[in-house]
Every structure is written in structure tokens, then in C-alpha cells.
């Protein structure tokens, strides 16, 4: 159905805060829907669900146990406008961890339950590769509503029962035929995803070291990746109060696996890059058949300070493994 920008804006604002990407690419609550760029913003939408720094509890320094104040999950209803399919699909992966009994994260759940995801179809850029994972820039499977921008508004489709219920409350514009979803972009050199078992079998291959010499483990790829979800727990003090925090962490840090006694199984930089690639392309698919720990958003390619193309590297690894397997066969 067609829907004007004003109508949509009014309907969303009525629900509560509307989160949109700011000019700097960060998620901000606004009153007016902005013009969006063609592709995903710099910060992935996961920031609204697994924020970089989230309080678990706080207490006054030196206080007894009765003073522990757990942080309350934020159940404010609202919406997120401008979610791209790559970021939305990534949330499905995060759901597998944080909505999994018996350790459901109540803060994550509260946001997932209360924030309506309003997707906006994109104009894929040169570093996007969502097509590799079987979806495209119009994909509505992971959002509540998918909007396709038009001259005077949007064409809206529902992606979920919740989205359908929302659209039913909005002044219905004319029903319009919906174009077939476009296929997602794939790199021209790509021929297929690596086999998770083959990757695992080649854990000790010397090519990991070669890959590692030109990666400096700065962790920017991890920092901006929509599916990366590692975190740590730590305490910070400020003006007599102590906060226990859940802090988003980065497996590329040199001390990520360092134990208190000093032993660090991943001291060598190349081993940390290997861990990231293996986790995304081998371990996650092994534990979740049909899923990969990547949605092709291309941020790692855009932001790598050394201009590396991490997905191209993964592809080259796969090619090498396949070539060697063929030689043996």
C-alpha cells in the first residue's frame, strides 16, 4: 500500500520515540523522519539492542547488599526507521544468543519486543554483498514493515504480524502492485561460500599466518559488524557510585583471551583473525545450519584502515582449500 511520509511520521511518532540514523551514522531518537542515504548507516542497528555500554546494576561504594539497584529493562514502545535488510537479518542471529533460554537477556528482549522495525529498501553500494546470503535490498523477512521509497512517500509491505497490525492502524493509501524483490549484490569474483567443515579441517593451515601478516587486529571490522556480539562484564566507579556494566568487546584485542596468570592462547595476531573468520564462517553455521555469521553489509570492507577486503580473503582461503583438496583427490 502507498503511504505518505507525513502519515508514516505521524503514526510512528504516536507510538513513541523514533530511532533513525543521524548524519554521523549513529542511531538517534527524532521527531521528524530524515532523508536517508542509499545504503546502511555506519553504525549497525544492533546498537539499539546490544548497546556498547549497558548498566547491569549499580550500588553506592561501600554499601551493603540491600543497595544493589538492578537496571530496569527499557520497555518504552517505539520504532526504528531506516533498518536495512543486512542489519535486520543480523538481529535474527543475535536473537539466537540473547533470546535463548535459560539465559534470556531481559534488556535485549524488552527492546526487541517494543521497537517496531521499519525497513527501508536500499540502493546497494560497491562493497555490499548481501546476495551471497540469499537475500536482497528489499528483503522483508526480518523487519516488521518494508518500505520502498517513492516520489511522494513509500510503498509499504508488512514483514510480520506485528507489522501488519501497525499498517492496519495507518491511513491506508491505495493498494499498489509490489515489484518483485531484487536479488542482492554479489562480488563478481564470488563462486560460493566456504564449507564450514572444510574450514575447520584446515584450522592449522599455514595460509592463516600469511593472512595475519597484513592484518593489524585493530578490530574496526568487529566494532562495526552487525552480527558481532561478544561482550565483557566490568565495574566502573564514578562519584561514589559503582556501576556493573555489560560492555561490548572485541575478539581482535590482544588481551581478549589472556588469563589472569598471563597465559594467552591467542597471543599471535593471526590466530585472532582466524578466530573471527572461523567463528563466522565455520562455527556458527555448524551450530546453526543454514545460518552464517555475516550478512554482507560491507562495513568491514569500507572501514578497514588497511583497505583489506575481509570477504575476499575468506573467499581466497576457500579457493586454496578447494584447490588443494582437488589435487589430493
Amino acid at each position: 500500500m502507498k503511504i505518505s511520509r507525513e502519515t508514516l511520521q505521524a503514526a510512528l511518532c504516536k507510538r513513541g520515540p523514533v530511532w533513525v540514523p543521524s548524519d554521523a551514522g549513529r542511531w538517534t531518537a527524532v521527531q521528524a523522519l530524515p532523508e536517508l542515504g542509499p545504503i546502511r548507516p555506519r553504525r549497525p542497528v544492533k546498537d539499539l539492542f546490544t548497546p556498547p555500554r549497558r548498566e547491569i546494576a549499580r550500588w553506592k561504594a561501600g554499601a551493603g547488599p540491600a543497595e544493589i539497584q538492578p537496571a530496569k529493562p527499557d520497555e518504552t514502545p517505539g520504532s526504528v526507521f531506516g533498518v536495512r535488510p543486512c542489519d535486520a537479518r543480523a538481529l535474527l542471529l543475535l536473537d539466537r544468543t540473547f533470546l535463548q533460554a535459560p539465559y534470556v537477556d531481559p534488556h535485549y528482549k524488552a527492546r526487541r519486543d517494543n521497537l517496531l522495525l521499519i525497513g527501508v529498501a536500499c540502493q546497494p553500494g560497491p562493497t555490499c554483498y548481501c546476495g551471497v546470503f540469499g537475500f536482497g535490498p528489499d528483503d522483508k523477512d526480518a523487519v516488521d514493515v518494508m518500505l520502498t521509497p517513492e516520489a511522494d512517500g513509500f510503498v509499504a509491505q508488512s514483514g510480520s504480524p506485528r507489522g501488519q497490525a501497525f499498517l492496519a492502524t495507518v491511513e491506508a493509501g491505495a493498494a499498489v502492485p509490489v515489484a518483485a524483490p531484487r536479488p542482492g549484490p554479489k562480488p563478481e569474483w564470488w563462486t560460493g561460500l566456504p564449507d564450514p567443515k572444510a574450514l575447520y579441517a584446515n584450522f592449522d593451515h599455514p595460509m592463516w599466518r600469511e593472512l595475519g601478516t597484513s592484518c593489524m587486529n585493530c578490530g574496526v571490522c568487529t566494532q562495526y559488524c552487525p552480527t558481532c556480539q561478544c561482550f565483557t562484564v566490568d565495574d566502573e566507579s564514578f562519584k561514589g557510585e559503582i556501576q556493573r556494566l555489560r560492555i561490548v568487546d572485541n575478539c581482535q584485542r590482544s588481551d581478549f583471551t589472556r588469563m589472569a596468570g598471563g597465559h594467552n592462547p591467542r597471543q599471535v595476531a593471526a590466530s585472532r583473525l582466524r578466530q573471527r573468520v572461523m567463528h563466522k564462517f565455520s562455527y556458527i553455521p555448524t551450530q546453526n545450519p543454514g545460518l552464517v555469521g555475516c550478512t554482507g553489509c560491507g562495513r568491514c570492507v569500507d572501514l578497514c584502515p588497511l583497505d583489506r577486503h575481509l570477504f575476499a580473503d575468506v573467499f581466497e582461503i576457500m579457493k586454496r582449500i578447494n584447490q588443494e583438496a582437488e589435487r589430493v583427490a
Binding site: V104, F203, V233, I242, F256, M259, G261, P265, S271
Partner: protein, 276 residues
């Protein structure tokens, strides 16, 4: 309302034992009566302990699982958080989350002989197994414990060892790498003493824990004695943070050490990438 699994439960330290110059055992109880009475754990499971203000650390629950209201951890001073813990005494309140992890399969071991080789603070995760076996004495065969430390001053759990030495169908062999003027006991590294003790592998399981170098040299001895990889167990030491299988820190291969371990058989360990 859902409880945040990262929220610590307050607990009060009831007793502190300075085992060695840098190792302290704390006994503590959960403050909330209902939680305290409902708490259960199995040998090998661990908790996240915090000295409030300094973050959390992972420690195995080194107590007697038959008396779960009293929790125990044995901590070595190695960094900022353990330093903070070692400033605490009976009466202090700490945070606790747990129990986490896969336990030693003690039910599957019924009817078997139990052979334990521990070194230094590695005795901590093994103590709950010993307590369990001695509590259910009729369910298990012979219990052999080979325990060693660098020096007599580094030996832990003196009071418990006195009990074990006199227990039914139990052989306790204590050794030190190097004795002192007063040491009248055995001298020798744990792997060598284990070999000399020569426990039977038939219908027996082996469990070992200790410094990495000790484990590395002890596993071949167990193999020599005839223990197959499926019947040798250990706890994998990998940095763990959340204990929930969520934070990613202990991910190795397709597993999380906090969820799929930390107890692993050697056969299972051989399937993992040999990163650790």
C-alpha cells in the same frame, strides 16, 4: 519479570583460609535465604565471583556438593581482581553468579575406580569429586589421589587431606617437587609419582587438573597406564566471562567452554582446535 542473568547475587564470606602465600579459600553463603536453600551444584561446575567494584572472575566451586548451602572457592592472587578479593575477610559481602558449566559425569562413574592426579591449585576442581565419592562411598570403587605441589608451603586443603588419608578404600599420595628441612614426605613430580603409584586402568576413570605443564606430562602417563582417551577427564582452562555461553570469550571450535565444558574428556579435547 525476567531476571537479568548477569545480575550478581550477594553472598557473605563466613570463613577465610590462607592456604599458601598467594592462595586463599573463601567459604560463603548466599544472603537470600530462599536462594541459599534452593542452590545446588555438581562437581566441576563454576561460578562468577566478584569483589564489588573490581569486576568478576571465574572460579570452580570447590566445596562439598552434598552441603550446597556453603559455597567455596579457592583463589590465587594473580591480578587486579584477585588482589581485591584477597583484601576481604569473614563478614565481607561478595557477588556470586552460578552454577555454570557441564559437570564431571559422576553418575556415569558409579561402580568404577576413581584415579585423581592434581597439582597445586588444580586440586580445587577435583575436591568436589572426592567429596562426592566419599559421601556415596558404596557407589564407587577404589579412590586413588595423587596430589603434588612445588613445595610443602604450596600444599592446600590440609584439613581435608587428613580426612582423605583415613577414608575407606582410599589411597592418598602427597608429593612435593622439592621438600624443605622439615618435610618427611615424598619428593617427586606428580607424573612420576603417578607412574610409580601405578593405579589400575581397568574399570577406572582418570581425572587430572593442575598447571598446564603438569597436565601435559601427566596425560601420557595415564595413557601408558592403559587409560583410553574417553576415560581421562580434565577441566579446560580458558578465559570465561559471562558463564552463559553468550559473551564469546571462551568460544573454541563450535563450543563454549562455559557451556559445553569446562569438563572435557581427553577424547573430546582432541576434537577441538589445539589452540589452548
Amino acid at each position: 519479570m525476567l531476571r537479568d542473568p548477569l545480575l550478581p547475587l550477594p553472598a557473605r564470606i563466613s570463613e577465610r583460609i590462607d592456604e599458601t602465600a598467594d592462595t586463599v579459600t573463601f567459604h560463603f553463603e548466599l544472603l537470600d535465604e530462599a536462594e541459599r536453600k534452593a542452590f545446588r551444584y555438581l562437581p566441576g561446575q563454576f561460578g562468577e565471583i566478584s569483589a564489588f567494584g573490581e569486576g568478576e572472575s571465574t572460579f570452580v566451586i570447590a566445596g562439598d556438593p552434598a552441603k550446597p548451602e556453603r559455597l567455596t572457592v579457592t583463589t590465587k592472587r594473580v591480578g587486579a581482581h584477585t588482589e581485591a578479593l584477597h583484601h576481604l575477610y569473614a563478614g565481607a559481602v561478595i557477588g556470586f553468579r552460578g552454577p555454570y558449566g557441564k559437570a564431571f559425569p559422576v553418575a556415569e562413574w558409579k561402580g568404577k575406580d576413581i584415579v585423581i592426579a592434581g597439582g597445586g591449585i588444580g586440586l580445587a576442581p577435583l575436591k568436589p569429586i572426592i567429596c562426592h565419592v566419599l559421601n556415596q562411598r558404596a557407589d564407587y570403587g577404589k579412590l586413588t589421589i595423587v596430589y603434588g605441589a612445588r613445595s610443602p608451603n604450596d600444599l592446600m586443603y590440609a584439613a581435608d587431606r587428613e580426612i582423605w588419608a583415613k577414608a575407606l578404600n582410599t589411597e592418598l599420595v602427597v608429593t612435593v617437587d622439592k621438600g624443605d628441612a622439615n618435610w618427611k614426605g615424598r619428593e617427586g613430580f606428580v607424573p612420576a609419582v603417578l607412574r610409580a603409584t601405578a593405579p589400575k586402568a581397568e574399570n577406572a576413570v582418570a581425572i587430572t587438573c593442575g598447571p598446564p605443564i603438569m597436565i601435559k606430562l601427566t596425560l601420557p602417563v595415564f595413557k601408558e597406564l592403559g587409560f583410553p582417551a574417553e576415560r581421562i577427564f580434565t577441566t579446560l582452562e580458558m578465559k570465561m566471562k559471562c558463564g552463559l555461553g553468550q559473551c564469546g570469550r571462551c568460544n573454541i571450535g563450535p563450543y563454549y567452554v562455559c557451556k559445553d565444558g569446562p569438563v572435557f574428556s581427553v577424547a573430546q579435547l582432541q576434537q577441538l582446535p589445539q589452540e589452548f
